[in-house]
């Protein structure tokens, strides 16, 4: 049951979507199939701009708290939508399984997500189905791997604090 004042009371289409209140922000957990549909409904309800889209890798924290009816997966795509009047934010968290890291693109609902989705693909390796330019944006085009994944090692240069041992 959605709490009082929740968007789910104003927008009937959100009634079936699991929701939590995370430190004062309203968060919805649509499934991957219904994610674009939910975003379209929210845009129709006044959320005119997508302020942020990023991906999160929960590899080291798979047993996190999620509401009932949501199966926690390794990846999440997190979308922050913004309404100007009234000034309000809403967040969508979409579960993306590890063995099929694909997510439908939000480009045709919010064209402003073009670069954000390219960044999420580049650094986290989540492919956005239907994206007009699915290429790397920050790293070189021939880079291997996706560095923001938790199992991608961090390169280290050993630092020598003392004088190197001599030949004798």
């Amino acid at each position: 049951m959605a709490p009082a004042g929740s968007l789910a009371w104003q927008i009937p289409a959100l009634g079936q979507i699991p929701t939590v209140n995370s430190a004062g922000d309203e968060v919805f957990f649509p499934t991957r199939d219904r994610y674009v549909e939910v975003a379209t409904v929210l845009r129709g309800a006044g959320f005119a701009t997508c302020s942020d889209l990023c991906a999160v890798d929960y590899l080291t924290h798979l047993r996190r708290k999620v509401p009932d009816g949501v199966a926690a997966e390794r990846f999440e795509v997190v979308v922050n939508l913004l309404s100007f009047t009234p000034a309000r934010r809403v967040r969508l968290r979409v579960m993306i399984p590890e063995d099929d890291p694909v997510c439908p693109t939000l480009f045709f609902v919010y064209p402003g997500t073009e670069n954000m989705e390219r960044e999420a693909y580049d650094l986290m390796g989540i492919r956005f189905d239907g994206h007009p330019d699915p290429s790397r944006i920050l790293l070189p085009q021939d880079w291997e791997g996706h560095p923001l994944r938790r199992d991608y090692g961090v390169g280290r240069v050993p630092v020598q604090f003392k004088e190197a041992p001599g030949p004798r």
Binding site: S22, A23, D25, R43, S51, D52, N80, R89
Partner: protein, 464 residues
């Protein structure tokens, strides 16, 4: 912000001839089996359709333009050419590379190619504790380091649920507004330089130096301060800070008149900026643009006013908006925002409360140096904070502040350990850069530098 914008943004169906009931109009509109063929007014097109129709983005692989063998020097009429500008170009504000498709001198499509300054700071943030984190984020947007520290600290505090003493809040606000002044005058300097006014370059750097001098006195550094930290600020303001701040804002305020004399009424400057790089506000909203770029197009959206953080609800200031949304409006909006920031700083000078400059929570902030000599417990707390650090409860938060370039957001995920599991910065320059192809489309190649400069991309913020 008028309601028209929101209506336009959600793509409401336009009133048809049948609905308006005008018989003359209905006669002119032929009904077909696919419905009315009436030409809808331009503003009835949703921003998404506009973005796709006007499609200013050149979506070709970045390496294509690098192949010299593929170059063809013979051009037929109507053919286009892709010109590469940068990354080493003095007017690209860093290492920004632009690929522009030209027909004659007119720009058709373009693509900003970024990543030359990418250093993986979001990955680095996962290796640093929450106490060390502010030193990392401050290096992202090097012209507004204090806003970066602020948004990170606010996110950590929201995770922890700690309250910040009023003096710390007001010190943060003072420093951020001074930072906004220094960032905007620096922008005015580089914008002047891009438009061949090297006097403006010297003027802007001179005023920025005044603010940086004050920052050096307070934080010890001119950039990358690590001054705003989770739990408050690193140190109290030095004695006599009121006189220093007053001197800074008095001088900058007076010298803004010089800027007006030099640029605002100057015919060459106006020729180069007026009616250059105009796109409708709805398209900017759809492209997620924020900050002076959006306000210049007439949308009064400022997080300080709309979703007040710190103590912005207690100070009086105006949100500056433009009317046309061209390069000149973006110049005017920034110049007047400096005046508004000066107004805010003067109010802070009057209202600055006394008290602690950081939260007295032993788990969040270290104890005062003197206590360490007296109390074993204080020593242990001090040691714990600087070795293992803060451990916020599990959760995820998104916090946004209004940086000089727009909405600066921080999405922080905690797994309960002393390091963030994920820290994502919503960089305003990165997102605003998406509007550049739309702004350039249909303009002249000679105006490209003016448009790029007016968006104010900071490449450290773009690439992170």
């Amino acid at each position: 912000m008028t309601s028209d914008h929101v209506d336009g943004a959600i793509g409401e169906a336009p009133a048809t001839a049948a609905e308006t009931g005008d018989p003359e109009l209905a006669r002119l509109v032929a009904e077909t089996d696919e419905g009315s063929q009436e030409l809808a007014p331009v503003d009835a097109t949703s921003p998404v359709e506009l973005a796709i129709e006007q499609g200013g983005v050149l979506r070709v692989p970045e390496s294509d333009a690098l192949d010299p063998d593929a170059a063809d020097a013979t051009f037929g009429a109507g053919e286009t050419m892709i010109l590469n500008v940068g990354p080493q170009h003095p007017s690209t504000h860093g290492v920004l590379r632009m690929m522009v498709e030209l027909q004659g001198e007119t720009i058709l499509r373009s693509k900003p190619v970024i990543g030359y300054l990418h250093t993986g700071m979001e990955k680095t943030a996962e290796e640093l504790t929450y106490v060390q984190g502010a030193t990392n984020v401050t290096r992202m947007d090097y012209l507004s380091p204090l806003h970066n520290e602020l948004v990170f600290s606010l996110a950590v505090e929201k995770l922890l649920g700690v309250d910040i003493p009023p003096r710390a809040t007001w010190i943060r606000m003072l420093m951020c507004e001074l930072n906004r002044i220094s960032s905007h005058v620096m922008w005015a300097a580089t914008n002047g330089m891009d438009l061949a006014s090297s006097t403006m370059m010297i003027f802007g750097l001179r005023e920025r130096d005044l603010v940086l001098g004050f920052f050096e006195k307070v934080t010890g550094l001119r950039m990358n301060h690590n001054y705003i930290r989770p739990g408050g600020v690193a140190a109290d303001l030095p004695d006599g800070w009121e006189d220093d701040v007053e001197a800074v804002v008095d001088t900058v305020g007076a010298r803004l008149t010089d800027y007006d004399n030099l640029l605002t009424g100057q015919p060459i400057f106006r020729e180069r900026t007026e009616d250059v790089g105009v796109v409708p506000a709805e398209l900017l909203i759809a492209l997620s643009a924020t900050g002076p770029l959006l306000r210049a197009a007439g949308v009064a959206w400022d997080l300080r006013r709309a979703m007040p953080y710190l103590a912005y609800g207690d100070v009086d200031f105006d949100v500056v908006v433009g009317s046309v949304g061209d390069c000149f409006d973006r110049y005017a909006v920034r110049l007047n925002e400096v005046r508004e920031s000066i107004r805010i700083v003067r109010q802070i000078l009057e209202k600055m409360p006394s008290g602690d400059y950081r939260a007295q929570d032993k788990k969040v902030t270290p104890p005062p140096r003197a206590r360490i000599d007296e109390s074993m417990e204080a020593l242990i707390h001090h040691f714990k904070i600087f070795t293992s650090g803060i451990e916020p409860p599990e959760g995820e938060v998104y916090v946004a502040v209004e940086s000089p370039r727009g909405e600066l957001g921080c999405y922080l995920v905690s797994d309960g350990s002393n390091r963030p599991m994920r820290m994502h910065i919503r960089a305003p320059s990165f997102v605003n850069l998406q509007s550049v192809p739309a702004l350039l489309r249909g303009g002249l190649i000679a105006d490209m530098v003016a448009v790029l400069s007016s968006v104010d991309p900071i490449l450290g913020d773009v690439d992170r």
